[in-house]
Symmetry: C2
Subunit: 206 residues, 2 copies
Amino acid sequence: MTDTLLETAPLAIDETAADRIFRQARTTSQWTDAEVTDAQLQAAWDLAKLGPTAMNTLPLRLLVVRSAEARQRLVPHMAEGNRPKVEAAPVSLVLAADPAFHEHLDELFPVYPGIREQLAPATEVREGMARKNALLQAGYLVVALRAVGLAAGPMDGMDFDGVDGEFFAGTGWKSFMVVNVGVAEGEGSPYPRNPRLAFDQVAEVL
Amino acid sequence: MTDTLLETAPLAIDETAADRIFRQARTTSQWTDAEVTDAQLQAAWDLAKLGPTAMNTLPLRLLVVRSAEARQRLVPHMAEGNRPKVEAAPVSLVLAADPAFHEHLDELFPVYPGIREQLAPATEVREGMARKNALLQAGYLVVALRAVGLAAGPMDGMDFDGVDGEFFAGTGWKSFMVVNVGVAEGEGSPYPRNPRLAFDQVAEVL
């Protein structure tokens, strides 16, 4: 177990950027009253969308919950401990996977003509691909939000079916996470950072 | 559909860092002959490990395939089109999810005493949590590899059960992706970047 923030090889980005996207960033639950604009969310998306996905499938979808009305629809579907977090957040993003991603593949993945038609009947395959790649994109999105100066508070204690029924009826989108977003007040968390597993605890070299 | 790299709000990291981690980074298949050291991989891990996971579970595990012997064991389990990519890469990381992550939770998540014991009999729950959070960490890892000056070529066309039998027998680790790693030759890819979905194609605002 190690808490060290020292790297063993030099970075290729500046220290401020490394602090911003990983080293000083915390799972945030304490926010200033700064607004989160659609322009900021779009700027984050314009970075995150560039991260690689299998066959450029880009299945991540976002529901931006900003209005008091929308928030009141989301709160009851969250685990009890997460309800005050949604209520306190300037914006909450519901992250969802879209199994109908294949409809965009003629444009997104022109190197493989016919893949759209080939995937169309394979619902289960598409659901698996959508979830897998949307989760990968969620990782990019957390970093991208930080890169535009926002803080993120990801949560997955929630009733996913309830959220899908409330917001995504008829679309097929499958929610898998909520990320609270805003500008962090101080460190953004009242708690010290938890320890992490060190490289030699997670990696085997052959 | 948009190919623009212009953001609509200012970044909180410098332009070089944004280029490095997202805007100029490509899924890489063309490499210089520069070595990838364990120190570089550890530096990337020391950033990626800081990204948030549910209950700080950190289930991502890495098999670093560097020796000719290890590479020859991995290649036959890859989809045919991915075999030359593994053969050409300085290093290939097999990314896996560890359903036994709960064994570390006394240290990793001390705020919830007893969670280790509570999760121990819930094998299926742990498998789902491991896969979900390891995929999220895979997104952090792609960014972190780039942040230490490496390029990444993620692939998921492979026989996962075959890889698990070859390398992970007895550990319970479940492979879900291979990421080729090295220093990109030029742009790292012979192909132009594929288009991406624009914010208004993936987001709904309420």
